[in-house]
Subunit: 349 residues, 2 copies
Amino acid sequence: MRNFDINEDPHRRYNPLINEWVLVSPHRAKRPWQGQNELVVTEPLPKYDPTCYLCPENVRANGMKNPKYESSFVFENDFAAMKQDEIIYEEDIKYTFFQAKPERGISRVVCFSPRHDLTLPEMEIADIENIIKTWQKEYTDLGAIKYINHVQIFENKGSVMGCSNPHPHGQIWAQSSLPTQVEKTQNNLKGYFDKYKSNMLQDYLEAELKKGDRIVIENDHFVALVPFWAIWPYETMIISKRHFGKITDLTPEEATAFAKILKQLTIKYDNLFQTSFPYSSGIHQAPTDGYDHPEWQFHMHFYPPLLRSASVKKFMVGYEMLGESQRDITPEKSAAILRELPDLHYKMA
Amino acid sequence: MRNFDINEDPHRRYNPLINEWVLVSPHRAKRPWQGQNELVVTEPLPKYDPTCYLCPENVRANGMKNPKYESSFVFENDFAAMKQDEIIYEEDIKYTFFQAKPERGISRVVCFSPRHDLTLPEMEIADIENIIKTWQKEYTDLGAIKYINHVQIFENKGSVMGCSNPHPHGQIWAQSSLPTQVEKTQNNLKGYFDKYKSNMLQDYLEAELKKGDRIVIENDHFVALVPFWAIWPYETMIISKRHFGKITDLTPEEATAFAKILKQLTIKYDNLFQTSFPYSSGIHQAPTDGYDHPEWQFHMHFYPPLLRSASVKKFMVGYEMLGESQRDITPEKSAAILRELPDLHYKMA
Ligand SMILES: O=P(O)(O)O[C@H]1O[C@H](CO)[C@@H](O)[C@H](O)[C@H]1O
Ligand SMILES: O=P(O)(O)O[C@H]1O[C@H](CO)[C@@H](O)[C@H](O)[C@H]1O
């Protein structure tokens, strides 16, 4: 019998945001990999691609022509997962097993830049501030629609994350219900708030800043850290230091600090394996249901799949789908690796 | 305003097993795909591969030589996610945000056949019965270990599911805790049992057999269906008709019927896109914690990622990770497609 050593022994960690556990296997990082390698694109992209449906002045699948936009550009997704139609529906309580409810929503695409070849880490701070302004406008406009109660801002980056076009862009799916993950998070934030009369993520951030070993970047207004309960090898979360619930609450200084930490974090990501680092990212914030949400704190998740190199990712498969998420490197180690990485993009070095 | 048409309108469906919702977008199936294509291997595999660490008489990474096995063969995973060591641990309640507990467990690899080139759909029924016997023995042996409370039997098939070796094999991860997904399922099964004094999956199966439109295969003892709340395009679940909780409860007739439905289902999967169909599958059954579990019913999940062809999969990324799972084809349509597929493997046709 030995004493528990969190850096060496297999263990489970608790995620209080969604009330789930993750299995951590620190000793397993060295296992050899003979499985699938992801395709790594190394050729530089052109600034403008005549075949790209997101580049300025090109024509999209539906025949519409993009404007000659100069910063960001937003349009309705031509193949939206939801529709705006109002649907008449009566709950059928006869069938307990067949519960289905119509869902209304709007999907938009947000082009981050007219340049086909630029991603967040390579953009100027001013360009990123401009994307943040666009997100604020969309959150406000979509949130103002009566039936829209939640606005999900997210980005899928890289073909390994199902992104079909390298032109820098994100998406917004706004809808009438709170999606499952958001509802879970809200319930747990609310439970904490009701119990401690305090904000969970504020208290968590305070505890993390005291410990220090999972912090990746800190500036005046934001912190990027590897959560104690992170699932993906290099998963991070950006949390605001001040307590506020939504992107429209940002002061101008905070907006700049948010742009800076976004750039710095994505530079570190690119530098990790000297590749355009794939991830899905997204903002979790207060719903637009018209209620006060003191339990919410604005934060952003980054879920990147790469594990050991530009071509070897972590597979969340059999055990993870049927049992629970599992990771091979500790969050503390991942944070240390990210923290040490240079702040200058490898292409500039 | 129109009346809700579940076959046409975007909607959410409820999964009572894990108390989560899925977003269904029936109209979205026709969207074009310009994203990543998976590598499709078409070359036939050799019956024996001298470089395969799972083939009989070959040597594994740890220097051990496999026996000249003739049916199935089980060994401890050389890079296990858990260890058997007993760890001393005192709960530290000071840190609410840093909850970690040591986890003990055993990981085993189960080779399904000495033949390097055979997968379940191409094996004889007797071979599959033999795999079932092996699973029964492992469930019994591992479950009998005092600290093991849960035995997860699963298979990752295909490189797209993180499987690093085409030699037919599955895994077993046995551990002291109930993994997150299993605990959720158990809580919901238990809630239903306490409320209705009846088994949820028995009642669900009865309701599905009455409706019929999500049934893929039915034999005397088992049913394969696309669950009403399925997430993956061609996700299925095999449920036993009789109420029993664990694989060791199978009668000899039921074991044969289980082998038959496994073969028939995986043949349909291979026939769908005329490819060796990738999936993660696994059995959910009663834990081995020594208690009676009348709420549990033996069932098996299949989570296959392919969407439109052998090379185009569904990506569960941005919205799905931050919001909720989303699908583009209705479960009824998927079930109809699978149902119509021939029962003869395409390679035999
Ligand atoms: O154990 P294997 O086959 O090497 O690994 C595979 O299955 C495991 C269990 O689902 C996953 O944790 C790994 O990410 C995956 O690559
Ligand atoms: O909308 P896109 O970029 O075509 O599609 C991508 O993102 C969506 C939202 O996460 C996913 O549902 C799709 O599976 C993925 O390929």
